[in-house]
């Protein structure tokens, strides 16, 4: 199994009545999976459980052949750095770095800043229409441009698992479809798994496989 598998996953925050339980969830390689739900329903919590940023009380999260619960904290970090691409809801860019530096940041910490990685990052930037801002500081760009930098950063190191939290929220419809095309194309080409959190029902046709988070919570 090289996709994503969740089995009997249980999670709750200490002192909170919020409960999340997933009996089983599978995301096949080369496919996208949509997570729907209103604000505060627990979409981001589930995403963080799937990436190993939160630890479940019980159950299993398996990314490819790697069971996250079997890894130490340091191993999970290393795994995320090399195998996982994350698009944060608030983009989480470093304003004092240029577009190029932001996109190549995870690779720099992996000591993988080769010319080909830089070329690939540049190519992604061009496709996301932020190539003209390559040497500009991220802090100088608009919300939409920043969101596209965050997407380029998530894909630049060719991760096998991409988790995107509302990646099209700040984009107009033309750019939204361009970003979605890029994400789907990447998923197919790299046989990667894409899990995308969204509340945009217009995007649901792109995700034949999807779930509503409310179904997992109590």
């Amino acid at each position: 199994m090289s996709g994503i598998s969740l089995q009997d996953l249980s999670f709750s925050y200490p002192g909170s009545s919020f409960r999340l339980h997933v009996n089983g969830l599978e995301v096949a390689p080369g496919a996208g999976f949509g997570l729907l739900g209103p604000s505060g329903a627990g979409k981001t919590t589930l995403l963080r459980l799937m990436t190993g940023l939160l630890q479940p009380q019980s159950g299993l999260v398996q990314l490819g052949n790697t069971a996250l619960q079997a890894l130490s904290e340091a191993e999970r970090r290393a795994f995320r750095l090399s195998e996982v691409g994350l698009v944060f809801q608030d983009f989480a860019l470093l304003d004092y770095l240029t577009v190029e530096e932001n996109i190549l940041l995870p690779q720099r910490f992996r000591s993988h800043t080769s010319a080909s990685a830089s070329d690939r990052a540049r190519d992604l930037a061009e496709r996301l229409e932020i190539g003209q801002h390559w040497q500009k500081l991220a802090g100088q760009l608009s919300q939409g441009e920043r969101q596209r930098i965050a997407i380029a950063r998530a894909l630049a190191h060719k991760p096998r698992f991409v988790f995107a939290d509302e990646p099209t929220a700040s984009l107009d419809s033309r750019r939204r479809s361009r970003v979605m095309d890029l994400l789907m194309e990447y998923t197919h080409e790299q046989q990667a798994c894409l899990v995308m959190v969204t509340h945009d029902t217009e995007l649901m046709p792109l995700f034949p496989n999807h779930a509503r988070v409310e179904d997992f919570t109590s």
Binding site: F88, Y96, L105, P106, F109, S111
Partner: protein, 391 residues
């Protein structure tokens, strides 16, 4: 990982360069102050030491020994009670060593005019680099730096400055002929204008020159026995020339003429001890000091002040370090979200700690570099500044 952490730290510091510069500047100042203090004290020591050591004894009017030393050795511009010429004669009659008179009361703009005798140049190893030595009344030779700074050469002229601007009855500035320029010796001599002792008295007004009253009858106010009294129309000379040289003359008892100090070079240790003994009496109008001892006392005081300043500056340094630590702590606290994101992406805690450490190191290194630059600048100029302080 190290390079990535360093790169991230550098980019943050470079992006916030004003804040970084302020913090580094504050650190630099607290590091620089004790260093500069040390540099200035060392420069003072170096500037004053050789001169004090090379002057065995000094005679001057009773009063502040330090003032006497600063005036006679460094030509510091300050009021000093004069010593009469008769004491020079007494010292010479004692035949215990050579006595060199010094008159350091007048200036040519910023340059002290030093009235002395030819032995002074031998004592200070001063030679003529250009031109010739003083040949007559009204001549002067320039210290090397004075000549260079004012672009003067032999054949040019220099005026003495009026010491009292409001002294309407005072004497006019004397135009002096420059006969030579001295070799530099890196001491206050380089900034001086040297004249014969009589020229110094001429500047003081003890001597003067005017047209011959006996041949210009309309300048005579009244005729007395063996004496002619001139009226106000008599033409006074403010420059000594070969033509009017004979028109200059001194009035009064020359043994009462005043000097600033007398440099004494005893023949041998016994003579030195005998000379010291002669001036021991507290009732004496004059005193004899050993510049070396005065210098040691001055440096001892300076070192005490330095030690005290070091203690205060040490506390300031601790306070500055504590404030810097607080600034960094607050900065990192404000950037918690940024570091959390990096951690979420997969950057290790070690790499994040290294990033923070590099930021602190870069600011600290910036502060040290600034401190070094300031200290080198102070060191470069310290001796000039000390010489200015001694003026």
């Amino acid at each position: 990982m190290m390079l990535a952490a360093l790169h991230l730290a550098w980019r943050y510091v470079a992006r916030h360069r004003l804040q970084t510069l302020l913090l580094a500047g504050a650190l630099a100042l607290v590091i620089t102050l004790p260093l500069c203090l040390r540099v200035v004290v060392q420069a003072t020591e170096a500037t004053m030491r050789e001169r004090a050591v090379s002057t065995p004894q000094l005679v001057g009017a009773r009063g502040s020994a330090l003032d006497l030393m600063l005036t006679a050795l460094y030509f510091k511009r300050q009021p000093l009670p004069p010593v009469a010429m008769k004491h020079l004669h007494e010292l010479r009659e004692a035949n215990l060593g050579s006595a060199i008179p010094l008159d350091v009361r007048f200036h040519a703009q910023e340059s002290p005019i030093v009235g002395t005798e030819i032995e002074y140049f031998g004592l200070r190893s001063l030679r003529i680099a250009n031109g010739k030595m003083i040949t007559r009344l009204g001549d002067c030779v320039l210290g090397a730096r004075t000549a260079l700074r004012r672009g003067l050469k032999p054949g040019d002229a220099i005026f003495s400055s009026q010491e009292q601007v409001f002294d309407m009855a005072g004497i006019y500035p004397l135009k002096m002929r420059i006969t030579g320029v001295l070799t530099p010796n890196g001491t206050p001599d380089d900034d001086a204008v040297f004249v014969d002792l009589k020229t110094a008295w001429l500047i003081q007004g003890l001597a003067h020159g005017h047209e011959d009253v006996s041949t210009t009858r309309d300048t005579v106010l009244k005729t007395e026995t063996d004496n002619l009294v001139a009226n106000a129309s008599v033409r006074m000379f403010n420059e000594v020339t070969d033509k009017n040289l004979d028109g200059f003359h001194f009035h009064g008892d020359t043994s009462a003429y005043e000097l600033s100090a007398i440099l004494v070079v005893p023949k041998d240790p016994k003579s030195e001890a005998l000379l010291a003994g002669r001036f021991l009496k507290g009732t004496n109008a004059v005193q004899l000091i050993r510049p070396r001892e005065e210098y040691d006392a001055l440096m001892s005081t300076l070192f005490q002040v330095q030690t005290l300043a070091f203690s205060v500056l040490g506390l300031t340094l601790i306070a500055a370090a504590a404030i810097s630590a607080l600034v960094f702590a607050l900065s990192f606290r404000m950037r918690r979200r940024e570091f959390k994101t990096l951690g979420d992406v997969g950057v290790s805690p070690l790499a994040l700690s290294l990033t923070k450490l590099f930021e602190i190191t870069l600011v600290g290194a910036g502060g040290l570099a600034l401190a070094l630059i300031i200290t080198l600048f102070v060191q470069w100029n310290a001796s000039t500044w000390v010489q200015l302080l001694l003026k």
